[in-house]
Subunit: 171 residues, 2 copies
DNA sequence: AAAAACTTTCAGAATATTTTGAAAATTCAA
DNA sequence: TTGAATTTTCAAAATATTCTGAAAGTTTTT
């Protein structure tokens, strides 16, 4: 890519972030608002975001709330201001942890629950049922493994893998 | 959940797999066909799948091809049969590895590329540009870390984490 | 207490994704 | 070859998701 001006690069960042997010099952506007706030040194209010991204007030409001649920942005009440301002978590490592945590909760949790439900509902009293339960059990094990792996990766900064990473990251 | 008959449990499995898949950004029908084949001891052809899930031929065809791209199912040519039959990979650990691999490729790869592009386009000749590049660089580092972590988890069965798991899994 | 400033909600509109099914393309047996 | 069997394609229809904007709700100021 050729040299760009900052404004152009920021727009490209916001646009790219939005496009990639849809690939991850995340709403495009939510990702764009997040990108905008990530790049903004000051906190922003709803009107500023509306103007910047050219989207409606309702859309901004709902996605700001979702971003707060994900703990990727925080509300900031400025003295002397009626409006609510929002600021993004700038520590990218925290952002990544937060996203991974949320996705683990949304994607792996329900899978584990569903397999448990199925296990409980079936008695292994025929060969066919045993075969079915084998699959359910295997999925159950893999998903619990994935869940544990995520948790141990995220939980402890003493983790060897993470330390290894942090060394590189803090250079 | 109360006790269920096998048919009921299989239907629930297929339905659940489809619903969860949409949460993971995977097409519902693709997931249901996958679930159906996972639970089937015999390989199935397009007509059988159409009848079973009550979906159109075009839909079955396109999702079978996607599932083959993901390497979650294989085409099986039976002697004396004109029709193509499909069978799912039954080793759930392989299935999980395959899914993780594909998602890594789709979700992390483009992110790394996009950040590299942005880095190249901007010269750090002002404070604002330096701040921008800091964020891009941090995201770049985190995504490369995630990519490496995935790769090392998946690549080697000599990996301590995986061995640890396999011991439990093979019990 | 009333009004102004601001936030939230949500029904309908707009957009995006998935599905259908018939036509076109391909494969294979005779 | 021909034609029957099967697979693939793709435009249009159906469905699902996201967005808008005005009305309703809330908070703060006067």
């Amino acid at each position: 890519m050729a040299l760009m001006e900052l404004k152009e690069a920021k727009d490209k960042f916001i646009h790219t972030w939005g496009t990639l997010a849809t690939q991850w099952g995340i709403n495009r506007t939510m990702a764009q608002i997040h990108a905008l706030l990530l790049l903004s040194s000051k906190s922003m209010n709803a009107d500023e975001i509306m103007a910047d991204l050219q989207i409606s007030r309702g859309n901004v409001n709902m996605n700001l709330r979702d971003l707060m649920d994900w703990k990727l942005i925080y509300k900031q009440l400025l003295p002397g201001e009626r409006k609510e301002f929002f600021i993004a978590e700038k520590d990218i490592w925290k952002v990544a942890k937060q996203i991974a945590k949320e996705r683990r909760r949304r994607e792996i949790g329900p899978l584990i629950e569903a397999m448990e439900d199925l296990k409980e509902g079936i008695q292994p009293d025929t060969v066919e049922k045993e075969e079915f339960l084998k699959i359910v059990n295997d999925i159950s094990k893999v998903s619990i493994f994935a869940d544990n792996t995520m948790t141990s990766l995220l939980k402890s900064d003493e983790n060897w893998l993470m330390n290894n990473f942090i060394k590189v990251f803090n250079k």
